[in-house]
């Protein structure tokens, strides 16, 4: 533990500011509040601040960030902007250090985001003890008032001098810029402890339930009237998510200059309180009620992220609490209200300091998660008024391997990116998509022709488990566009090379009108083949149109199939409304919950479990799905709404 005089400390910071190799960011006053901003002089630094408006998250996940630049003529020769200067962030409170560790765990888990990693590795964190406790802060109650790692240097301002703890080699090197650095005395250390403990004691608020009990409390109180009472006052303005150090959701969009040539793919913060957060291309919104959005935020903090990362995603900074105008975003208030309303018995536990083991230096290389690979449209065929077929191959000539049921993100430079189900059985080389014209990307795709270039990311998600289905009778039910992803599995199974591995195959296909039926040639083959039972139906058939099949809803077709429920796996794919009814019918047929397989649609923006849009409660449709066993999702309140 080191110590220098306040004057020398200022000299040290000034020296860093003057050094052209560094970009020094620190806490400054903004009106009566505080912000992290570029330090022009060391005098601007305010280590006596309570809490900043935005957390230092903005240095690693900026409010607006260019993911790549492109020209529309050479769409995927994109370049990613890089940073040259080291960023030094001065004055990061312990709760924010822990929040950065949360972000590390989130962005550097299975899929390591190179975009994040670069910025994170490029930064030096100079932590600071809390000298002034924010009115709404409760980090003391959350166990986030002190840290043992996650910083390069850690400062405690004693007024006349500053005690400095060295966290890393890089921190030690940085400190070599300071002069007259001495060993801290025992007395200095005692003063540090006193300041730290005072902050922790001062930031307890009156939280009635320690964070390790939140999961259980929320588990038992999803239907509490408190959610409705509080969300009735919610403006759905998104503030609580914008200011939160552990909210990581984002949106991605393309912008093109007026020259129509140069453009960029831009990432910006998004928030689950906003109405359009869950909107998919066809316009459907999966969390329409403010109540659901309001509740989702708390469940994400107390259940969904703990399930994924192992800790409550709240550090007690109090930013949401102090910046929510109707005062309904305060976790302390909400947890206390639910505790009181439910007469939940708080057990005698206290907050234990949070410790995270991920070390940024151990991670060498990430992946540019948003960078598509160039690909070429090999074949384009209009199937119906709204649907077009595309055969696509990557330009790198590497094999394209995927499982039936997975999806890809299709990019058109300047327009954007959209998740599209793979519709062909894997052949190792090319793949097929069938796209309905609903949004910007799909409309632009419909204007393209063979030979045109697109970008591809993926394949993503959890596909159909073709091995687990071996030996079983298979009942395929495709409703509307559901036939598109289902086709990848059907074609795999009925391929002569695989057909013998499976029992009886029954295919039920329903769409609105005969003109909407896809893959007519293949449907005819299903009719012809005697190793496939096939029935089809249309909701309505206009007069004079020839239709060989039933007329009525798909729900009426299912009971007509002859199945042996004890040995049948039913695979059901269709729009949300279909699941509501068909699952019940299948269960009535006697098919077990484990043997009903569904593929769900949500807004899958990133495909890698980061952007947050596709969540069904704690499940990420892009990673955990889109293919699920009914048994695994039936109890999720948001799955079949």
């Amino acid at each position: 533990m080191k110590v220098i005089t306040k004057k020398e400390f200022h000299g040290f910071i000034q020296k860093l500011i003057n050094n052209s190799a560094f970009n020094v960011e620190g806490v400054k006053a903004k009106g009566e509040k505080f912000v992290f901003d570029t330090l022009e002089t060391a005098d601007e630094l305010r280590l006596d601040y309570d809490v900043t408006i935005l957390p230092p998250k903005k240095y690693f996940l900026p409010q607006y960030e260019t993911l790549m630049e492109f020209t529309t003529s050479e769409p995927f020769e994109n370049k990613r902007p890089t940073q040259s200067k080291k960023t030094i962030i001065v004055g990061v409170h312990p709760y924010d250090i822990i929040a950065i560790q949360h972000a590390d765990a989130y962005y550097l888990d299975d899929e390591i985001s190179e975009e994040y990693l670069q910025k994170r590795k490029n930064a030096l964190i100079l932590g600071s003890d809390v000298l002034t406790v924010g009115e709404k802060s409760f980090f003391g109650a959350m166990g986030t008032g002190e840290v043992t790692d996650g910083f390069d240097l850690y400062l405690t301002d004693l007024g006349d001098r500053v005690v400095i703890d060295i966290g890393t080699k890089a921190g030690e090197q940085l400190l070599s810029h300071a002069e007259h650095v001495k060993e801290a005395s025992k007395k200095d250390m005692q003063r540090v402890q006193k300041i730290r403990q005072a902050a922790i004691q001062g930031a307890q608020r009156d939280l009635k339930l320690p964070p390790n009990k939140w999961y259980d409390l929320l588990e038992k109180n999803r239907e509490s009237s408190v959610w409705k009472e509080e969300s009735d006052q919610c403006l759905a303005c998104g503030t609580c998510t914008m200011v939160c150090p552990t909210c990581f959701c984002y949106d991605v969009r393309d912008e093109v200059d007026i020259d129509m040539q140069h453009g960029k793919r831009l990432r910006t913060w998004d928030g689950c309180l906003l109405r359009e957060f869950t909107a998919v291309g066809s316009g459907e919104i999966f969390r329409e009620d403010i109540l659901d959005r309001y509740r989702h935020r708390y469940y994400r903090k107390a259940q969904y992220l703990p399930n994924r990362l192992g800790f409550v995603a709240c550090v007690g900074c109090g930013r949401c609490s102090s910046q929510c105008i109707p005062d309904i975003a305060d976790p302390v208030k909400l947890i206390n209200m639910i505790t009181d309303a439910s007469s939940y018995e708080p057990l005698e536990t206290t907050a234990t300091p949070q410790s995270l083991s991920l070390h940024i230096d151990d991670i060498k290389q990430g992946e540019a998660l948003h960078e598509p690979l160039p690909a070429t449209l090999q074949e384009v065929k209009k199937l119906t008024e709204k649907e077009t077929y595309f055969k696509i191959a990557l330009d790198n000539n590497e094999p394209f391997l995927f499982e039936p049921g997975q999806f890809v993100e299709v990019s058109i430079a300047g327009i954007g990116e959209a998740p599209i189900s793979l519709s062909s059985a894997p052949n190792g080389v090319s793949f097929e998509l069938v796209v309905r014209k609903v949004g910007d990307v799909t409309s632009a795709l419909h204007r393209m022709k063979a030979g045109d270039k697109v970008g591809i990311r993926g394949p993503f998600g959890n596909g159909f488990d073709v091995d687990a289905m071996k030996g079983k009778d298979l009942l395929f039910i495709g409703a509307g566009l559901g036939i598109v992803p289902l086709r990848s599995l059907i074609n795999y199974v009925i391929d002569p090379r695989h057909r013998k591995d499976y029992g009886k195959v029954t295919i039920l296909y329903g769409c609105k009108e005969p003109c909407e039926m896809l893959f007519g040639d293949e449907v005819a083959e299903w009719d012809r083949r005697d190793d496939i039972d096939h029935m089809r139906t249309v909701d309505t058939c206009p007069e004079g149109v020839c239709w060989e099949g039933d007329i009525g809803l798909i729900t009426a077709l299912i009971p007509k199939a002859t199945v042996d429920p004890s040995n049948t796996i039913a695979v059901l794919v269709g729009p949300p409304i279909v699941y509501k009814f068909c699952n019940d019918i299948l269960l009535k047929l006697g098919i077990a919950e484990e043997d009903i397989i569904v593929s769900l649609e949500r807004r899958m923006k990133c495909g890698v479990g980061k952007c947050g849009h596709c969540q069904i409660n704690g499940k990420y449709v892009c990673k955990d799905g889109p293919v699920f066993r009914y048994a695994d999702v039936k109890d999720l309140p948001e799955a079949f709404t």
């Binding site: 903004k30 009106g31 009566e32 509040k33 912000v35 408006i53 935005l54 903005k58 409010q63 607006y64 009735d232 006052q233 919610c234 403006l235 759905a236 303005c237 998104g238 503030t239 914008m242 200011v243 969009r253 912008e255 093109v256 200059d257 007026i258 020259d259 129509m260 910006t268 913060w269 928030g271 906003l274 109405r275 359009e276 403010i290 102090s322 910046q323 105008i325 109707p326 300047g414 327009i415 954007g416 949004g439 910007d440 409309s443 632009a444 204007r447």
Partner: protein, 264 residues
């Protein structure tokens, strides 16, 4: 072939068109992508047919309605430019009183042979937004519009893409700019219900948002009213905040119960 574009104005200050005229060097890029056939701010030519009609101003008199209908007929795409065309803007506040009351307020004494309805320039002045008269394809909101947003909308149109007009509240952009929330320093703001896209320019300079871009598609109005009340505004003051640019919504709400009465 480059699409043809024509600009028109009704009751307005023409400030939105001025924003476009003031695009500086970008205006050349715009001129390179579209063929401007009518734009009173910068040229004297007139045109009878165009792909895109960009219309500023609120619709006031029957003669304006007629002219707008003609523009609509001549255009493939009709864009409402700015708060007047989008909402009726501040002049719509006049709808709270009768035409006669307004005339008297403005001119003191009215001279029947000059100011009554027989003079088409004074006929039944009621301010309405474009979409209350003809179908509007898209809106570029704001008072005035943000010229960069205008360019973005134009680019989107040329790309065949949905124009990037946000449907979330100003608070989102305000927070991203790390502004001190005006409510926390004793000021008032319509940001929580107002449509973003302006990059929260007013709150950034310490002025409360007045929702010149209208509300988001699903504003939680009741919660906003509660908040304004909670932070100390009287019912009348709240009404003033809600009517500045957005009297259209108040009028629509007043119409609703009346419709119900009629049905009953």
């Amino acid at each position: 072939m480059k699409p043809t574009v024509a600009f028109f104005d009704f009751s307005s200050c023409e400030g939105c068109q001025l924003q476009i005229a003031n695009l500086e060097e970008t205006v050349l890029d715009v001129a390179d992508k579209v063929n401007i056939v009518e734009f009173r701010e910068v040229m004297k030519e007139h045109a009878e047919a165009y792909d895109i009609a960009i219309v500023e101003g609120s619709i006031c008199r029957p003669m304006d309605e007629e002219r707008l209908r003609k523009i609509r007929k001549n255009a493939t795409i009709l864009i409402a430019l700015g708060a007047c065309a989008h909402l009726g803007s501040v002049q719509r506040l006049g709808n709270q009183w009768t035409a006669e009351e307004n005339k008297e307020e403005v001119y003191g004494k009215t001279i029947p042979e000059v100011t009554d309805d027989s003079n088409p320039f004074f006929e039944q002045p009621r301010h309405r937004s474009l979409d209350e008269i003809v179908p509007v394809d898209l809106v570029i909101p704001g008072c005035p519009i943000d010229r960069n947003e205008f360019v973005k909308v134009l680019v989107a149109l040329l790309q065949g893409k949905k124009p990037p007009i946000p449907d979330y509240p100003v608070c989102v952009e305000c927070k991203k700019r790390e502004n001190v929330c005006l409510f926390t320093i004793g000021k008032f703001c319509m940001g929580p219900v107002a449509r973003a896209g302006c990059n929260a320019i007013c709150p950034t300079y310490g002025l409360g948002c007045e929702a010149c871009r209208g509300y988001v598609s699903h504003p939680h109005e009741k919660a906003q009213t509660d908040v304004l009340k909670k932070y100390g505004l009287s019912t009348e003051e709240i009404m003033n905040r809600k009517t500045m640019y957005t009297y259209k919504y108040v009028e629509k709400q007043q119409e609703k119960p009346r419709e119900k009465e009629v049905k009953a």
